[in-house]
Structure formats: structure tokens, C-alpha cells
Amino acid sequence: MTAVVAPRRERTASQRYRHSLWLLTKRDLQVRYTTSALGYVWSILDPLLMSAIYYFIFVIVFNRGTHAEDPYIVFLMTALLPWTWFNGSMNDMAKAFIRDAKLIRSTSIPRSIWIMRITLSKGIEFLLSLPVLVIFVVITQFTSTPAHIHWQAVYSILAIALEAVLIIGLGLIIAPIVVFFRDLERAIKLVLRLLFYLTPIVYGIDRFGKHNVIKLLLDFNPLTGIVTLYRSSFFSGQLDWSAVIISAAEAIVILGIGILLFRRNMRAVLKEL
């Protein structure tokens, strides 16, 4: 056998970063999809069940009639699927360092990878759940209120980018802090539950009048603009550029704060693990 030690191809830092990131993301997805027989189904079951519940409550029980939001099931899912990405990421961010403590203690990988890999693996799950939306869009074609895709669907790419920035920024803030305050993990779950209703998911952004207090809260929520951007694919009337601009500005500010806090706290986090 010949020696293969020959001049080792030195890889740049960014190549190594991407390689490690990809390995860890793949690991997440592998674990997710190989440990349970229903792997893929599990990841779409949550948004599917939520859609079914809200559809039941609002359409069948309360018989709502805003035609602008028909077909309601598509209206729901265009916001629920991105929400599932956000929600799942935030829950995982809380455990980002604790779950992989052993690996972090023994391998020197750029520490931000632990944030990026959650964003990426949950993002891939989000993309993989989109076919479910497509199925529902097709189904509605056979009803009295078929869904129509608009050219605004291209904005979804911007929405994905903004949501990723927001998730990374919040992750950089949350992940290190939870190492010191473990009970924050529960607090995050509560805040997320609250945030769900403060984001135009089960209702539209135009639900509240201009000088409503809830409208103010909605405007301040960085998810509002992102969700309406996704939703404009099928409901162009939902598009609200001022909300999008607020979302974008907030996401960028949060990312900035995140980078700063993450750098500042890393030394203490490593000691604590």
C-alpha cells in the first residue's frame, strides 16, 4: 500500500467552516430522519395539525367570511410553515451549546457554527415542508375559492433571507445566555407561544385599524413583515412594505447585537460548559 500522506491540500478557513457546517447540518437531518420511521412526516405533521385545528375553529365553527383570505387553509399555511421554522429554531437555539457540550469542549470549530447549523437544518426542513403547501394549493383548485399564485411569490426569497438573519441574530443572543440561565429555556417557550398570536398568522395584517394598540405591537414584531412577505405569494393585498422595512431593520439590528454579545460571552460560555 502506498502512503497517502502526500502534500496535504490546505483548505482555507471559510472552506473548513462550510465543510463543518454542512457536516453538522447533515448530522441533524440524519438523526432526525433515521431515528424514526416517520421521520419526514413528523416534521410536517406539526404545521399540518395546527392548520387543521385553526381551519376547524375559524372556518367550520365560527364560519368566518372575509373573502380576501380565501382559501383560508392556504392563507394559514403560508404563515404557519415559516413560523414553524422560526419556532423550531428558537427552541433548538436554547439547547445549542448544552446539547453538544462534549463536542464543543473537545473540538475547535468556529463557535458560530452551532447557531448557523440550527438555522440551516431547520431551514431545510422548512423548504422540505413546502410541497405540503403545494398539495393544498392544488386541492383548492377544485373548490369554489381556488388559490392563485401571484408574481409577488418571488418576494419569498427575500422573506427567507430576512427570516434567516432574524433567526441567526436571536440565536447568537439566546444560545450563550441559556448556558448561564438554564431556566430561560422555559421562558423562551412561553414567549414563543405569546408571539405566535402577536404575529399575523391566524389573521391578516389588515385585521386591526390604524390606531389600534395591537396594530402597534404587530408593527413592532419583526416577524410581521416577514410573514406578510411570504403571504403575498397568494394574497397580494397582504403585502405591507412599511412592515417589511421595520422587520428588515430590526433583523439587522438584532444580528448586530447578537454578534457583539456572542463575541463578548464566548469566553465565559466555554468555561461554563
Binding site: 440524519q30 438523526v31 460571552n265 469566553r267
Partner: protein, 257 residues
């Protein structure tokens, strides 16, 4: 047999140290239960409240030349593993810095990167990949790694179903195949049966013969004398003695026996 060739980095930088610790210091909290306040997260690092902290290492200076094998000696809790972790870049110093030229193969908590739910095969690719090996490199060494760990029949078994001995064997096999010029070893040789231990010893001998630099933490005098030429004696976070290993071991023995 694959012969471990001389590493190009070792030859070209023979006159420059590969590890330089400069006034290295790190402090830990004595009382781990102490609650940090939210204020600490935003305050300047110099203005932070630091109740009950102690220096695990302070004013540590040394440099290691390529090809040197250095044994770190000291009682429990005197900063040996901390020093290794600083060199491995899994801890960040509070003072000074440690400069490491070239990659590091850390035999520290070696089973850390392995995932319970994935198979042995998947785990080998994952861990070796995280340590910077490309897929082609891993593929070309895969058989060697499995042979060394001697677990050919368990390739597709989930890692969690391996015995603890097998887990350490496969982990050692992977990390010790990394083509990094610097090897950090922390007490890992204490585990495994005698037969595997012999294999590990042989492997480390091979690595040293091929020009690797080694940083070695152990409580075993025999191991230290076998592998190391130079010793660093740590006590209360300070370097007490830095010299030939025999001298260092003698000094340690006279202090604590």
C-alpha cells in the same frame, strides 16, 4: 502498511516553535453555582463583578519546537487539562495568548463528537470531517481506522449500542489518524484493555517517529518517561519546572511522596 511520511510542516519550520504560550492566564469561578447577573452580559469585561474567581493558570510561558514531545506533570486540579484545552483552542485565555502553528489533533474527551443514534460508519465520517479531513481523505483511511479499532462487524451498528471499550477504541482510531502536526493527549491511555493499550502506544510511537509534536498529560510515570523528552511541572497554576522529563518527574516525586 502505510508508512507515516515526514510532515512537510515539520521540516520547513524546524527552527521556529510551533506552540508559544505568552503570559498565559485563565480564571475560573470557585463556586460554580454563583449566578451571573444580566448586567454582566452587557458590562465591559474589566468592570464585571468577579466574585470568588481564581487563576487556574497564570503567567505561563513556554515554547515547544516541532518534533518535541512534552509531558505535563502535576497533581489533580493544577491546570494540566486546562493548559491542554487552551492549546487546543477549546478555551479562550483571560490573559496572554497561546499561538499554535499548524493543526492540532486533540485526544481530549475523544468520544465527544460521536452521536449515539448514528452508525459507526456515519460517526467516523462526521468526527474526522469536523477535525478537518475531507471525504476523500477519510475514505482512503477508512479501512485502516476500522482495522485499528478492530470493530469491523459493528460498522452499521448505532454508536449507542457499542460497549464503552469499543467506543473509546473507535474514537482513538479516528483522532489518531488525523494528519495534524500537533498531537494533544489527555489521559486517554488509561482506558481500554491491555491489548488495545499496546496498540495505542505503538501508534503514538509511530506518530512521534514521523515528526509530530506532542503535548501529553498523564499521571503515569512510565508513560511520561516512555514518550516524552521534556517535562513541564505545573503547580497551583504556575510552571514550577520546565526541563528534561526525568528531572521533572524526580522533582514531582520528591515534592509529593
Amino acid at each position: 502498511m502505510a508508512q507515516p511520511g515526514m510532515l512537510s510542516t515539520a521540516a520547513s519550520t524546524a527552527d521556529k516553535p510551533v506552540i508559544v504560550a505568552n503570559d498565559l492566564g485563565i480564571q475560573f469561578k470557585r463556586n460554580r453555582r454563583h449566578r451571573r447577573s444580566f448586567k454582566d452580559l452587557f458590562a465591559e469585561s474589566s468592570r464585571r463583578a468577579r466574585p470568588d474567581e481564581f487563576w487556574a493558570l497564570r503567567n505561563v510561558n513556554f515554547s515547544v519546537m516541532p518534533g518535541e514531545s512534552v509531558g505535563v506533570v502535576g497533581r489533580n486540579g493544577q491546570g494540566k487539562s486546562t493548559l491542554l484545552k487552551l492549546v487546543a483552542d477549546v478555551l479562550i485565555p483571560d490573559e496572554g495568548r497561546v499561538a499554535v502553528t499548524g493543526g492540532v489533533a486533540p485526544l481530549i474527551e475523544i468520544t465527544g463528537g460521536f452521536v449515539d443514534d448514528l452508525s459507526v460508519r456515519e460517526n467516523v465520517f462526521l468526527t474526522a470531517g469536523l477535525h478537518g479531513m475531507s471525504v476523500q481523505e477519510i475514505e482512503s483511511r477508512f479501512d485502516e481506522i476500522i482495522d485499528f479499532a478492530d470493530i469491523g462487524d459493528f460498522l452499521d451498528t448505532p454508536y449507542k449500542h457499542l460497549s464503552s471499550g469499543m467506543r473509546v477504541r473507535i474514537a482513538f482510531a479516528v483522532i489518531s489518524r488525523l494528519e495534524e502536526p500537533i498531537l494533544l493527549v489527555d489521559e486517554v491511555l488509561a482506558v481500554g484493555d491491555r491489548q488495545f493499550k499496546e496498540k495505542c502506544y505503538k501508534r503514538i510511537d509511530e506518530l512521534l517517529a514521523s515528526g509530530r509534536t506532542m503535548f501529553f498529560v498523564s499521571h503515569s510515570e512510565a508513560d511520561l518517561l516512555r514518550f516524552c523528552k521534556r517535562g513541564i511541572y505545573l503547580d497551583k497554576g504556575k510552571v514550577i519546572l520546565d526541563g528534561p522529563i526525568q528531572e521533572v518527574v524526580d522533582r514531582y516525586n520528591s515534592d509529593y511522596k
